[in-house]
């Protein structure tokens, strides 16, 4: 077995890189998420571009030491060129053989691999399914292996901190993190401060973690074989104040901001489901801000309570993922018929059915657009990056309340759990939101009378004197809102509901694309695969390729100028993490174009490399 002393090769050639991908991998109990998060916080605070991708096992605790139990956290950071969490790690921290095994396929050539040598015993190897020791058998040839006795050194480092064995074991992750900090020449004060604050009341634990961190740092520092490593310059960004934020947190905050701008309380009716639960949990913390959270008995009660709250005047939201979305479709129809504002967030995960609950996918798009009984149009938006979740949430509330319509906001596991720096917005910077609330009797008013521009009806909430009225799920008379079975009226109402949603196109920004002048190939994407698509096209363009990219956040309705972009290109390829749902949608909405497809349904995001390969192939044809 190679020890660190024997490690061959040096970590060269990486300093020049614009960005670096590092992956922390270990057993679920090894604290990899924490190590990754702390690392991210540090580099974010120091002004790097970052993108992260946590990847946990779907079992709460799969058997220790097995591949199924590996928990990973990938960070991509750099001064520029960070278009997603990165394809393959430049540096892998593998706390046990299983962590190594599960990442072997994905390694770049000449990767730096940090392993805990103490965890490579016979039983550990067996559990991970290694017949022979990969540190010994040539498996890692071509890589730079840093095999440190992490467990024993951590124990030694904190021997007299007064912790029991189990707690001591829990500090291993900090030893590894310390090593990484040293490898990347990053300061540790942020992380040290975290422990001091978090374990104020258990100073022994704080102390042990800090000691482990420093021990790891020192271990690398004092190892002569390891050169000073990567230095990544802070990214060139718009001046301003930034913070590191995950997609789900940004979405929750955006909802709060949107409700505030609309001058309304925020109501969330929701039921836990991976990967959407965090939004509810984040909002539940902010009771101080007037946020009402009902953890409902199921998804149906979640959306129905939100519809009730919307009727009664709150900005109402429900959050879920695919299976829960399925359960909400009947009630979405009610919101369509009663023309009440409602935001439905679907953080997509791998399907069908329970599917791959912790993996990412974009396969609920057609469900969002047309997965209801009857002609039941709603607005559909999609969030493209973690920080963008904030803006989309604000926009969803703006559209829902100003146009009196349900809005489905699609996020996806990859965006929801990923993180990136967010340029903090103040409420003043956000667009104004003016719901069509009516509080005083107006002789011209009828419950289904409409604004000529938006076709929105008025929002008259119970409690308003002299404007009592009744709404419901039966077809409504075009004007009075009374129940109507008239055939002409039904056809008119079906058309009105469709037009109202289509009119939203008058109020959203025009579609942009990158690659002015290109004409050969247009790459089309939507939702959370923004980063890698832009990354791949940007790289190809810098290689002089005739390619452009346009990415959709507004799914239904599409921006008005969409066709005028499409018609500039010889070929259009729609790239998505499903079997071609957006492509099929485009075929229905803009049938005049021919759409090629590039699809991936593996529960994983695109990689820049595979995209480039595909695009090169198409360009070569």
């Amino acid at each position: 077995m190679k020890s660190h002393e024997e490690m061959s090769g040096t970590m060269n050639g990486k300093e020049a890189m614009e960005s670096v991908v590092i992956k922390f991998a270990g057993d679920s109990g090894d604290g990899m998420q924490l190590a990754g998060t702390l690392f991210t916080d540090t580099v974010a605070v120091h002004g790097k571009e970052i993108a992260t991708f946590p990847d946990f096992p779907s079992e709460i605790r799969a058997p220790q030491g097995t591949v199924a139990g590996v928990s990973g956290f990938q960070v991509h950071f750099g001064s520029s060129g960070v278009h997603g969490p990165g394809d393959a790690p430049d540096v892998l921290v593998a706390m046990n053989p299983a962590a190594l095994k599960s990442n072997l396929k994905d390694l770049r050539p000449a990767c730096t691999i940090v392993v805990d040598r103490d965890s490579f015993g016979k039983r550990d190897l067996d559990k991970a399914g290694f017949a022979t020791d990969p540190l010994e058998d040539g498996t890692l040839d071509g890589h730079q292996v840093l095999a440190a006795p992490i467990t024993s050194m951590t124990k030694a480092a904190i021997a007299d901190a007064g912790l029991d064995n189990k707690s001591a074991d829990r500090c291993k992750n900090m030893f590894a993190l310390g090593m990484v900090y040293r490898l990347f020449d990053q300061p540790m004060d942020q992380t040290i401060g975290f422990f001091q604050h978090k374990f104020k009341k258990s100073p022994a634990i704080a102390e042990a973690n800090i000691r482990a961190l420093k021990a790891g740092h020192n271990y690398v520092l004092t190892m002569e074989a390891v050169p000073a490593t990567y230095t990544v310059q802070p990214a060139a960004r718009t001046p301003g104040t930034y913070r590191n934020i995950t997609g789900n947190q940004a979405l929750a905050w955006g909802l709060m901001a949107g409700a505030k701008k609309a001058g309304k309380d925020l109501f969330l009716g929701s039921y836990p489901i991976t990967p959407a639960t965090d939004i509810m949990q984040e909002l539940a913390k902010h009771k101080w801000a007037g946020v009402k959270v009902l953890q409902a008995e199921d998804e149906i009660a979640g959306i129905c309570s939100a519809i009730g709250a919307s009727f009664a005047g709150d900005v109402a939201v429900t959050t879920t993922s695919g299976p829960g979305m399925a359960l909400k479709t009947e009630a979405i129809g009610l919101a369509v018929m009663t023309e009440l504002p409602l935001v439905i967030v679907n953080v997509q995960r791998g399907g069908p059915s329970t599917g791959l609950p912790t993996k990412t996918e974009q396969s609920d798009l057609l469900q969002a657009v047309c997965g209801r009984n009857g002609e039941s149009p709603v607005v559909v938006l999609a969030a493209s990056t973690p920080a963008a979740c904030f803006d989309r949430a604000v926009e969803a509330i703006k559209i829902a309340t100003e146009h009196m319509t349900p809005v489905i906001l699609l996020s996806e596991s990859y965006v929801a759990n990923g993180a990136e720096p967010w340029k903090v917005k103040t409420l003043d910077e956000l667009p104004a939101i003016h719901p069509p609330v009516l509080t005083r009797p107006d002789p011209a008013w009828t419950p289904y009378g409409r604004d000529p521009a938006t076709l929105a009806r008025k929002w008259v909430v119970p409690g308003t004197p002299a404007l009592q009225h009744r709404i419901g799920g039966l077809e409504k008379d075009e004007c009075t809102g009374c129940v109507s079975h008239d055939p002409q009226n039904h056809e008119a109402m079906v058309a009105l509901r469709r037009q109202k949603v289509e009119r939203v196109a008058d109020f959203i920004p025009e579609q942009k694309f990158r690659g002015k002048g290109a004409k050969k190939l247009l790459v089309v994407g939507w939702g959370g695969q923004f980063g890698t698509l832009f990354g791949a096209v940007t790289e190809l363009r810098s290689e002089g390729k005739d390619i452009a990219v346009t990415h959709f956040n507004h799914i239904h309705p599409l921006p008005r100028n969409t066709a005028s972009i499409f018609e500039q290109f010889e070929r259009i390829v729609v790239c998505e993490l499903n079997s071609g749902q957006f492509a099929n949608y485009l075929r229905a909405v803009l049938p005049q174009f021919t759409y090629l497809q590039y699809n991936k349904v593996k529960g994983r995001p695109f990689k820049v490399s595979e995209l480039k390969e595909k695009f090169n192939e198409l360009l070569a044809q």
Binding site: A44, L294, C304, G308, A309, G333, V461, G473
Partner: protein, 353 residues
Amino acid sequence: MSTIGTPAQPLFKPKEYASSQEVKWCPGCGDYAVMNAVQRAFSELGLKKEEVAIISGIGCSSRFPYYMDTYGFHTIHGRPAAVATGVKLANRDLRVWVMAGDGDSLAIGGNHFIHAVRRNVDMNFILFNNQIYGLTKGQYSPTTERGTVTKSSPFGTVENPFSVGELVLGAQGRFFARVPDTDVKLMAKVMVEAEKHQGLSVVEVLQNCVIFNDEVFDAITSKETRADNQLILEHGKPMRFGANNDKGIRLRGLELEVVTLGQNGITETDLLVHDATCASNVLHHLLAQMRLPDFPIAMGVIRSTAGPVFDADLAAQMKAEQERSKYASLDALFLSGNTFTIQPGTDKPDGIT
């Protein structure tokens, strides 16, 4: 939020709560009587029209909101309790009334029903129990008596029905009343009490469907038998009933027993005195369980006890959090914790703010 005194002068007469819509129930349907009772109760309570939100599901009975000149929402089948919970949480000043059939509340809506009961949201749930699906033309419901022949049970049902009262109590219910649709006065009285009660009030109306389940409550409600077959409960009063008011209910071990006053030396002091407000629900269970022919059917408020009210507690928690919050505004929240600044010109971070 339901502290209502009886106003000196009612704001509106009962009929003034009616909307201009034509009422479309079958002639003779029990739903008319329920509407009359609700209008009387509103009048007596002095409710403003705009402060009332009537939420229903789908079913004959669920057409109720259309006929009232208040705010109303005819939602989807089975979900009115969930919708109403959202209404109440959005605006606690509203008087929220749920109108739902036995199918709406106990078949498809069973889950929302028991959870609304458990949470004890401050609203009134009027359960129109006609033991049948009326709107869909006569299939059996979860309250249909075993053996009943209906459109969907041509050979009689083989399902045990729910007993509404027992289910409510089993779900930690704190207010349960039962009334026959033939007694508008009693209905109105009970509905006033329901509105005054803080928390979820379930009122089960034995409602006759003249078309698909006619006369199913006849033994209970017919002129000839009702005095003997109904025990009208009043809190603090001994449990007496009967055409001659000479029967009563006595406790024997863990069971109830019908006795005749004057026989075997039994006097009123031997009878159980109704206590709707006691925390223990055992007596209420016993009363809710009484069945013909051995017992009369208990009517009136069977249970009405104070307890934590969800919307009130949530509001209190929000208020407390508001008071002790470390954030003055969302802007403050967004700028809290670990942030960093890129300076104009330098494009370099200047450290932690």
